[in-house]
């Protein structure tokens, strides 16, 4: 068994790679590329200079000026725990000692009068050090030379990236000279920085020696950490699933077994009709109806459920458990408030799942009931209840285990509609929003998570087979 699990785990790696590669290249081939076509905030196009800046920023962050396969390797390197540190990570590794070293080398310039300038210059020097494989002291020394006097502004030329267009180079050098004329340190730093980094794209990334490093899922387009976004959305999805999956199974197993026991009877027929009718109802429509009839104060029976979200506005001030005898008599408390908010979404998520699971259960119980060992058990005079629950039930669980493997990943991604109707920010909405915004790092992280979950649930399924059915063995 252990070797089997190990082998399966090893096989997961190429499968996952394949999934990631497909998603990555589909995204790369989509019109507009990463982040769409330089959309600005209102969804209008960026203006000329803006568009260039955004484009450069994209190039530095995602390497969008490289061919797609190189971008893929770059991303893989970034998320892998073993690989090359990139300059941004090298820079993040600098400590106080390095800052002090850089500050010492810059002390010749009269920057001390305003600490802000010194800080900015030290930051710039460290950035140079990281990108150019110099020690912080060396880089700061060279920067001090460039910033030293107006005449040495020209010496900034050899810092300039060769990918700059002649027009851009001229404009930036003019800016540099101008800021010298005005004696603006900040302007000088900005110009030097732009000359050497801003104007150029991904080619400015230097890969350090290979090392064991922290995997980095990157940032969203809006500059927030992808891990943060996932950690906001994931608990909500997990909560919904923890409530939904057991509920589906409980109802499906009970109705399935009873329907099979008297196949063709009244319960079998009526449960079949009801569950399949439920299965046919589109979630989006049911959700809207629920909102209109169960969550409206203008209905004659009043508002029974909240309109959306996971807590009321004043949830923070509520006590945790329900209590009686407060100012307004009964106070629901945080726990009940949350359950009350979860009721409609959970109903929406479950009602469609009953039918399939229940019918599958019914079929396999029927199968087992006609098996030889059941007849033998009956002939031996075993109590019918014992036959049903210990002989038949266990043997008819296999198809449900198969289904579970597909339900788990589907519920993580497939709750978009319910999440949208009830204004819940779970994984489904996160994934769809990421896809629409062409937010590559977020999309890839969601894919990675979904891929890992899918593969692991398949593994668990196979292990469960072995546990549920002694005939299955992997050794």
């Amino acid at each position: 068994m252990t070797t089997y699990i190990l082998r399966r785990l090893m096989l997961m790696v190429p499968t996952l790679l394949g999934v990631l590669a497909v998603v990555f290249f589909v995204m790369a081939a989509a019109p507009g590329g990463v982040g769409g076509s330089g959309l600005d905030l209102e969804g209008a196009q960026n203006q000329d200079e803006d568009a260039k800046r955004v484009q450069r920023q994209m190039q530095r962050r995602y390497g969008t000026d490289l061919p797609a396969y190189q971008q893929f390797f770059r991303w893989m390197n970034q998320v892998s725990p073993v690989g090359f540190r990139m300059s941004a990570q090298v820079r993040a590794g600098y400590g106080d000692a390095d800052r002090a070293e850089a500050a010492a080398a810059l002390s010749g310039l009269a920057l001390a009068e305003r600490d802000r300038d010194l800080g900015a210059a030290v930051d710039l020097a460290l950035e140079f050090a990281a990108y150019r494989d110099q020690t912080p002291g060396e880089a700061a020394g060279e920067l001090a030379g460039v910033l030293g006097s107006a005449s040495s502004a020209v010496s900034a030329l050899h810092w300039v990236d060769s990918t700059l267009s002649p027009g851009d180079r001229e404009r930036l050098l003019a800016g540099l000279t101008q800021s010298y004329a005005n004696g603006l340190r900040n302007g000088q730093l900005a110009a030097v920085r732009e000359l050497s980094f801003e104007a150029a794209g991904a080619s400015r990334v230097r890969f350090d020696r290979p090392a064991v490093k922290m995997p980095d899922l990157g940032e969203t387009l809006k500059g927030r950490s992808v891990v943060d976004r996932l950690s906001e959305a994931l608990p909500i999805s997990i909560l919904l699933n923890l409530l939904t999956i057991p509920l589906i199974y409980l109802v499906a197993i009970v109705t399935g077994v009873y329907a099979a026991r008297r196949a063709g009877g009244a319960f079998d027929l009526s449960s079949g009709v009801v569950l399949i009718t439920l299965w046919c109802l589109p979630t989006i429509w049911v959700g809207q109806l629920m909102l209109q009839y169960l969550a409206s104060a203008q209905q004659p029976w009043g508002q029974l459920f909240p309109t959306g979200g996971l807590h009321s506005l004043r949830a923070e001030e509520l006590p945790f458990l329900p209590r009686w005898g407060g100012e307004d008599g009964f106070e629901a408390g945080w726990l009940l408030d949350s359950l009350w908010h979860l009721a409609l979404p959970v109903v929406c998520l479950t009602y469609g799942g009953f039918a399939v699971a229940s019918r599958v259960m019914r079929g396999s119980v029927l199968d087992a009931l006609s098996a030889d060992y059941v007849r033998t058990a009956r002939a031996k005079g075993v109590h019918p209840r014992v036959v049903l629950w210990s002989h038949v039930f266990r043997n008819s669980l296999l198809p449900l285990i198969t289904m579970a493997a597909s339900i788990l990943p589907a519920l993580f991604a497939g709750t978009v509609i319910v999440e949208t109707i009830f204004s819940i920010n779970g994984m489904g909405k996160l994934a769809v929003d990421a896809a629409f915004a062409k937010d590559r790092e977020l999309m890839m992280a969601v894919t990675l998570l979904g891929g890992i979950l899918g593969l692991i649930s398949e593994l668990i399924r196979d292990v469960c087979y072995a546990i549920a059915d002694p005939r299955v063995s992997y050794d």
Binding site: P31, G36, L41, L313, E316, S390, F422, N425
Partner: protein, 620 residues
Amino acid sequence: MNNRFGLRDLVLVVLLVAVLVSVWLGTIEGDRRWEKLEGVESALAEQGHAINRVRQQLREGVLAVGTVGGGVASGVSAEQVSNPFEKLIAAQSSEGFAEGGWYIDRFRSAVGKLTPLVPADIYQRTIESYVLEPLIKRDPDTLEWEPFIAKSWWISDDGLSYVFELRRDVTFADEVPLTSADVVFTYEQIMNPQINAPALKSYYSRIESVQAFGPHLVMFRFKEPYFLALSFAGGMTIMPKHYYERFTPEQFNTMPGLLFGSGPYRLKDDPEDWEAGAQSVELVRNENYWGQALGYRPPVDRLVWRITSEETAALQQFKNREIDRYGIQPDQYPVLSEDEGLHAEGELHSYRAAGGGYRYIGWNQRRNGEPTKYADVRVRRALTMLTDRQRLADELLAGQAFVTSGPFDASTNQSNPEIEPWPYDPETARALLAEAGWEDRDGDGSIENASGEPFVVNLIFPSGNDGYLRMALALKDSYARAGILVQANPTEWNTMLQKLKERDFDAISLGWGGAIESDPYQIFHSSQIEGGGHNSIHYVNSELDALIEEARVTVDEEARTALWHRVHQHLHDDQPYTFLFNFRSNVFINKRVGNVRVTKTGLSPLTEQFIPLGLQYHAN
């Protein structure tokens, strides 16, 4: 049967699950308590600071007596300075005025970030406008610039230098005075290369320097004269130096909730702890607001924005009194404007905001290096005359749109009042087309040019939008009567932008956002054809170019307005676009909210509105 799952096992499993669930619930409760405790602690700390300040002032009692004179003196000068809150204070005398209550609005999607400058969305800016304040503000009724944090300003004769004199009594929410150092800091923060604010940087790159002269004078110097210079400089919202200085650029770029300023409202908790992706965003009244010394206290206790992604849910929330505001889309207008449930709770306000933008059809004059049929001005005019814009507005948009004659909003000075939109006139249009060589030569009902090529308009527009689709189909119908075939092509947004960028389209229908004084340079100047600018229709008019260039550097408003009027005339004559409509906004506001009125820029600001006593049901 030794592995039988018996009653004992069942009890065990149930117990185990129960223990796990209660441990989990326990941790949640622990977290909630911890958060509450933190809130109490920070409130205590704030009070402690306040007490310390009072003590300090008491200890310096003797000095204070000395400065009371100064205080009185500055009080006198403050009286001479106009009170920027006059209108708001006057509004508070209206009937039933009361302080307190919560005003609840709704956003469509979660707010990812509140930190100013770094790439944000319209939601962030809405919230920011209650927390950060600019030097000067436009009066919503007259659209004139009015003093606010700056009590006066001067513009040098060359139009390059803008000097603002700041009020002395403005403080941030922590009672630290706002000085010119904060203004300089804000500018430097925007221009700091490590701050992730590319869009703002390129706007503010027109500024050469921002200098402080003493604590209350600040000068913006521009590299070149620019007509929007005053709104750039004066409209910059001031960030407190002492607060933002603590954060490194990296922290500033990545921390989501760093929003703190001098405005009438502030974040409820410590901005550093603000969590993105929550279900609602709440602002509480800034109890130290500097306006209080001038007699103005923001009426509403809390401003809340709930996140409701679904329209039906939001509609229901409005009917349930869970939100106070519900805006309706033009295509929903005929149904929702008559909705009894909405009218039972709210009042419908219709307004046309100045600078609200317009919708157009753009005719691409050059494709693959060749001039297209639209390069002929007669064809473009004919197409405009074939478009029955008034009927489209009345029938497709339920009368919630107004025909516009050009890119400028008719309610602003920028628009030339003498220009009438081209009328719907198919006869003249057909004559114009014939003049341009487009006639029905083979008698099949469609028009062709001399080489027998039929007139086909391939119109692209954003997919997934019913409004555009219905309009395209209506156009197809009315153009067909003149023998023109319209192919309506709904196009996915990113694909469409790609086509715009590559200038690979025949005709396009889209909208532009507007401003009270907008800059036509990006869209109609011929220099914006190359290099991915917005003149994607290859429109060239050298006279217009010169006019736009001149207007942009004319600082004198009257002279500039005259120039804009001539720009408008050119655009009207040339019809590079068929200008379609401005839109009217329709918003339901809960009946309980007082002082809701229509101004030139939309509804009156929330700082003017109030919730009468007895109707403040959210607050209790």
